[in-house]
């Protein structure tokens, strides 16, 4: 039996390329595949017959190609039209490993491309040929000769999020540990000696630093040690918790029976993990230790600080800085279909305390610069449709200059206040509150901001436009297939009111696929092309691509044309994304790495 597929093209855009098809493929001879199909819309331009659906469905011969502003499902045009077209092809998998040759007949007449008085495109042939070579699994190179006149090339990169592209783990193992001898002295006098505590904290910090874990502070009592750490290396937080537990087990006096490890994210103490030392010693190196240790480990919302008696390790004030090249690629912007270039970004954050900081980020265009495209023709306040103007020119841009205060009111409540130049296009003041217990699969948040639009061509200038914007947010980890739902309702930058709905699938290894749409009281006409705001995003952990530990990641976004309806402030340090990965559900999904 042949393999059969049904397809839809441009079903959510402006409809210019819309078409539907039914296609079948079969290997008719070893290495030779034949493909044949029938199509509607763009596929019904040449080699056509009457649409058979017309004979059984009234109005099926009419295909309305006026899609307005687009951006909505065009289901009322699917499989309609007077004609259907036939297309087909053949693929030969050559004896050269990975090399294939393709030949196809296209039924697309490219009529739209020839309608403009300035149109020069006139396909000389309906037959296209191509050669593809699979360089390795996941990477294919292609070259094509199309329309009888054009050549093209492509590189296709593919991968399975569940299967890293690196074959094996070359990372270092955890610190081997022994259980305490039964006769080890269990005195607690050391815990009342400040100098001994300081030396112990320093030694711990140095050992953890070698693991890629930063010790912020510690507190010692005779039978319990509290440490506040930041995972700077591991893609999976339980692995950092496990490594820290091993360091404590190897280095703490025998009287210490309880390890309490508090995880920092972006300087916020999020979750405290409590490990019973004797239980840990009875599990290390034994079979099925992952499941057993999860059952015996305690989790709770971290307190805002360790309180009196804590030994500070990280000294404040301190300065973090980085300089990084930032290449960019922007596709399919109207009038400028492909744009790429390079910026040099510099960021510095000065911490007065762990909770109070100031950040400056500048961006210097280096290559691929472009001129000011001029103001947009939006019917709404141009809060996003002028985005290209803010990236134009060769002058250095001030991407961010803020003062931030981030803290916890209790174990479950997080707070953030930010003021200054919050993002490239807006300056102002704002605050955010999040309630997210560690043991709960959902959380509630709210933010409110007063902002003024920045001038696109100066570092510090402000426009007249100002607005109060903010949202109430519901976050829910559904527990099903790693799906996470988020609803934000409130006022957007253009003063419009509405809601954003986001659904994201998060894989335990750090991959994430998300999609969102926003509906506000802005009309489709006022919104412009796309009708309403929507988009998808992909987040890829670098650990997936390299055979050693790193918690760096990259996020790719595919969004609508930047329009003004449904636009939100681009705040870097929103609370929920910061604390999300340290709740009970997500830690459990990765807990097996505790022993790695």
């Amino acid at each position: 039996m042949p393999t059969v597929a049904i397809g839809f093209r441009d079903f959510l855009g402006t409809g210019v390329y819309s078409g539907e098809y039914l296609v079948a493929t079969k290997e008719v001879y070893p290495g030779v595949k034949l493909t044949g199909g029938v199509g509607w819309g763009r596929f019904a331009g040449e080699n056509t017959v009457d649409n058979p659906i017309c004979t059984v469905v009234d109005g099926a011969c009419d295909r309305d190609n006026d899609f307005g502003e687009g951006g909505k499902l065009s289901y009322d045009t699917w499989f309609r039209g007077e004609n259907v077209g036939f297309f087909g092809g053949v693929e030969w998998l050559t004896p050269v490993d990975g090399l294939s040759v393709k030949l196809e007949y296209s039924s697309d007449a490219y009529k739209r491309e020839q309608q403009s008085p300035r149109a020069e495109f006139d396909p000389e042939s309906r037959v296209n040929v191509g050669v593809e070579y699979r360089l390795r699994d996941g990477i294919t190179l292609g070259g094509y000769y199309m329309y009888g006149s054009e050549i093209g090339f492509n590189i296709a990169v593919s991968g399975n999020p569940k299967r890293p592209i690196t074959p094996q783990d070359l990372g270092s193992g955890p610190l081997p540990v022994n259980a305490r001898p039964a006769d080890a002295p269990r005195g607690t006098g050391w815990a009342s000696n400040p100098e001994a505590e300081r030396q112990l904290a320093t030694a711990l910090a140095e050992t953890l630093d070698a693991e890629g874990i930063r010790l912020d502070e510690a507190r010692f009592t005779g039978d319990t040690v509290d440490v506040v750490i930041e995972n700077q290396r591991f893609n999976q937080d339980p692995r950092a918790i496990g490594r820290t537990t091993r360091v404590l087990a190897a280095g703490m006096p025998a009287s210490v029976e309880t390890f309490r490890i508090t995880m920092l994210e972006d300087s916020i103490p999020v979750t405290t993990v409590e490990v019973d030392r004797s239980t840990f010693e009875g599990q290390v190196d034994r079979p099925n230790a992952g499941g057993r240790s999860w059952e015996t480990t305690g989790l709770s919302g971290a307190a805002p600080s360790l309180g009196p008696g804590a030994v500070p390790v990280e000294s404040y004030p301190k300065l973090d800085w980085s300089v990084a090249p930032a290449p960019f690629l922007v596709l399919l912007t109207p009038g400028d279909p492909i744009r790429f270039g390079l910026n040099l970004d510099g960021t510095a954050t000065a911490y007065a305390t762990r909770t109070l900081s100031s950040t400056v980020q500048v961006s210097q265009p280096v290559a691929g610069t472009f001129s000011d495209p001029g103001p947009s023709d939006s019917e709404l306040p141009a809060v996003r449709s002028d985005t290209p103007r803010y990236f134009s020119g060769k002058n250095m841009k001030l991407a961010r200059l803020t003062g931030d205060y981030v803290t916890k009111a209790s174990g479950d409540i997080y707070m953030r206040a930010s003021a200054g130049y919050l993002e490239r296009q807006f300056a102002g003041i704002g605050g955010e509150v999040l309630w997210k217990p560690v043991d709960q699969s959902w959380g509630l948040g709210a933010d409110i901001n007063y902002v003024r639009q920045r001038e696109f061509d100066t570092l510090f200038g402000l426009e007249d436009y100002d607005v109060v914007t903010g949202h109430a947010s519901l976050y829910w980890d559904t527990g099903f297939m790693g799906l996470e739902a988020q609803v934000d309702a409130g006022r957007y930058l253009a003063g419009d009111w509405g809601s954003t709905f986001t659904l994201t699938r998060r894989f335990p290894n750090g991959w994430a696929f998300g999609a969102y749409f926003t509906l506000t009281d802005v009309t489709e006409d006022d919104f412009g092309e796309g009708s309403f705001d929507k988009g998808v995003s992909v987040s890829i952990p670098f650990r997936w691509t390299v055979p050693f530990e790193t918690n760096s990641r990259n996020t790719l976004s595919l969004t609508s044309v930047s329009r003004d309806g449904g636009a939100r402030l681009d705040i870097r340090n929103r609370l929920y994304p910061t604390v999300r990965d340290l709740d009970r559900n997500r830690l459990e999904r990765n807990w097996g790495s505790f022993w790695q």
């Binding site: 022994n178 399919l332 807990w591």
Partner: protein
Amino acid sequence: MRRALAFGWLFLLAACSNQGLNPIVAGAIDEVNPLGGAEAPAGPTRTITRDAITRADTATIRARLLEDETPTYLFGAAENGGFVTYASGLRQTLTLRGAQITASRGLGHDLLSAVSSDPDPLKRAIPPTSWPQGVTRSYEFPAWAAQGRIETFACRFEFGPVRDIEILDVHHRGIEVTEVLLERRAQF
């Protein structure tokens, strides 16, 4: 539609910060040389000899991946309830119970734990004449959960000829025994 894509990570390799190089570059360097340049032993790499091991008086094993030619020496570092963990200078670790490998880190795909049916001559030495016909082994591999993924294999023992082998200048004579999977093909 407009696609804003973020960008080849190769460019990011050029980044730096007050914490040093880009984390990816730093990570790679750490893995290759976890001791750091300052603490790395000077001069040519020493060859491990029988005399050196004898002088060190430390349990030592030699291990290598199938695709590697050079073996790694691992030294006894911890013992917990009969499970002995050996660690290399690069902090690769192997945990053994008797002669049975029950866990590995940094040597190919990590093995979290392993159990086997009794009697298992790998867990506890048994004269070859008393070996059982076979053994069942269960291996725990990393999974996206607290408990790892368990794979179980039934194996039978095949006795071969008497062989002489030499391990670091010491000759040993023994019977070659092969474990053959009964139900499916696998390699680990």
